[in-house]
């Protein structure tokens, strides 16, 4: 058993004139809740479609639960649950009909689990899909993915269009019931607050390239905003400085790794360091997508030794 639920190597999808996904190297650890973040059109859904064997990559490769795409397509589909961005099922079928339809495709399907989730999520299983509210539609889609006994859940914008109560219900089920049993969740979203609440790993994609991939704890610990005042301070992103904003003699740095040492370097240059503060995921995301430099998977910045050389 590999330690990663998903790995991709230089995965790319190129349409005429558009590089939707451009050399993606993902590493999604088993048992993690991985938030896959990006702006609209960043390449999240295209990546997910490739992982779910719905679109073929222009080049590169992907391995899911140790299985190779496309050779092991059916085995992958048996072991991976998927919630698409559209959240559309056969509209004339009821929840029970959909269970009946779904059951034979998945050897690990559990009627008992389906019944449990239906009760817990309060889904009206005898109502046609087209008559369900957006929230119940999403819940039913999720129920089908959960009851198939998947080892990995791939969720594309699972909570978009949901009210806070339904969102909370869904996240509770995902975290407590599903991830609690050591299974992996890969969820794409641009709802950063939601991801910050549930994820333990984060990948940020922008214009088809992976800008950052790291555990959330590491991001919280290593990313800092450093506000400084002084003359001739570095004004360009470099090494662990991933974003800079200057206004007169006041400069705001967003740095990765060893912010204290970076601040010491600034002081050594005669600058006054006004503040060093931690960043939340939203701030990191906003600063990163302004810059567009890819980083290496699992490596969230330059080595501390590079600090002094960068300033």
């Amino acid at each position: 058993m590999t330690e990663y639920a998903i790995t991709t190597a230089q995965l790319a999808k190129i349409y005429p004139g558009v590089r939707a996904v451009d050399g993606l190297d993902l590493r999604v650890p088993r048992g993690s809740i991985y938030g896959f973040l990006g702006r609209n059109g960043a390449g999240k859904t295209t990546t997910i479609r490739m992982l779910m064997c719905l679109a073929s990559p222009t080049h590169g490769s992907a391995s899911i639960l140790g299985l190779q795409w496309p050779a092991d397509r059916l085995a992958i589909l048996q072991r991976v649950g998927y919630l698409s961005e559209k959240k559309l099922l056969f509209e004339a079928m009821t929840g029970r009909d959909l269970m009946r339809f779904n059951r034979p495709y998945f050897p690990r399907w559990s009627d008992e689990a389906a019944k449990r989730y239906a009760e817990r999520l309060e889904i009206p299983m005898d109502r046609a899909f087209r008559k369900l509210s957006q929230g119940n539609r999403t819940k039913l889609c999720l129920l089908l993915a959960l009851a198939q006994g998947a080892e990995l859940l791939i969720l594309d914008e699972p909570t978009s269009g949901l009210d806070p109560v339904v969102m909370d219900q869904l996240l509770k089920v995902l975290i407590e019931d599903y991830a609690g049993e050591g299974r992996t969740i890969f969820l794409s979203s641009h709802n950063l607050a939601e991801v910050e609440k549930v994820a333990d790993w984060v990948g940020i994609i922008h214009q088809g390239k992976l800008l950052l991939e790291a555990p959330l704890e590491e991001i919280r610990a290593d990313f800092r905003r450093v506000a400084a005042s002084g003359n001739n301070l570095p004004a360009q992103p470099k090494a662990q400085i991933f974003s800079v904003a200057s206004s007169g003699s006041f400069t705001e740095y967003f740095v990765r790794n060893d912010a204290e040492r970076f601040a010491a370097g600034l002081r050594a240059q005669g600058a006054a360091v006004l503040e060093t503060s931690p960043l939340n995921l939203e701030q990191v995301f906003l600063q990163l997508v302004k810059k567009e430099e890819p980083c290496i998977s699992g490596n969230i910045g330059a080595t501390p030794a590079a600090v002094s050389s960068s300033i």
């Binding site: 779910m52 719905l54 679109a55 397509r73 085995a75 559309l88 056969f90 779904n102 495709y105």
Partner: protein
């Protein structure tokens, strides 16, 4: 389970068809009853039998074309338009499974409908006129004036036409990812083919294999080929459509 979904998706069309058929047959029985009273056509069993066969196969042929068009649109192509293709094609089966299961189920429904139509029309006519076939020397193959009627060939022609229209519509719906576009394209291709055939016949004296299978099934004028070769040509083409749909779907990004 895809059989079951296909049946659910198409059963309304099947029931509507059967309902319309029953109304038409009732009207037909009434017409026979009136004609018998006015003109005593039942006096010549051969003519009456020829008329029954003609009417039956006209129905069956019409059924083949109409239901071929309707059933041909129920496939993965319609799921693209409804936005459910992502759900369907992430079930753990190959794409070819969905293409062939849909095609086989549709063909089975189509053939069943044609058989039911045949039985209903013959049964109703027999009820209205008395069992005339007992009075005809050879009710399967016989000649009336200039027309030679061969029921097995007519059955074959109707089945082929059904498979052809169904297969073409099926393929076009998958290719164009929409049932509406599939039907329009299919009708367009059939009409264009007939038009090209007429133009070539008039201007260049070249006859393509005719689509009017019922009339031409046993006429050897087409391309100067034997009727068997013409039939074989259409049969191969009809079977090529699900293969083409499979190739199209296998290569498609969803």
């Amino acid at each position: 389970m895809y059989f079951w979904k296909y049946w659910r998706d198409t059963r309304r069309g099947v029931f509507v068809y059967l309902g319309v058929l029953i109304w038409i047959v009732l009207f037909w029985m009434y017409a026979i009853y009136r004609a018998n009273r006015l003109h005593n056509i039942g006096g010549d069993p051969l003519i009456l039998w020829a008329m029954m066969v003609g009417v039956t196969f006209s129905f069956v042929y019409m059924c083949a074309i109409v239901m071929g068009l309707i059933l041909g649109t129920s496939n993965v192509g319609s799921d693209f338009a409804k936005g459910t293709a992502e759900f369907l094609l992430t079930r753990s089966r190959s794409r070819r499974y969905f293409v062939w299961t849909g095609w086989l189920t549709g063909m089975a429904e189509l053939l069943s409908l044609m058989i039911v139509t045949g039985f209903i029309v013959v049964g109703a006519t027999a009820f209205a006129t008395g069992p005339v076939w007992r009075r005809v020397p050879s009710p399967i193959r016989f000649q009336v004036d200039q027309d030679f009627i061969d029921i097995p060939k007519m059955v074959l022609a109707a089945v082929l036409m059904a498979a052809l229209v169904f297969g073409l519509t099926y393929f076009m719906s998958v290719l164009l990812k929409s049932r509406q576009r599939g039907v329009i394209a299919s009708l367009g291709i059939l009409t264009a083919y007939q038009a090209v055939n007429v133009i070539l016949k008039d201007w260049a004296r070249i006859s393509l294999p005719s689509l009017d299978l019922m009339e031409r099934a046993y006429a050897s004028e087409t391309w100067h080929l034997s009727p068997q070769v013409v039939m074989l040509f259409w049969a191969v083409l009809a079977l090529a459509f699900p293969f083409a749909a499979q190739v199209a779907l296998d290569r498609k990004d969803i």
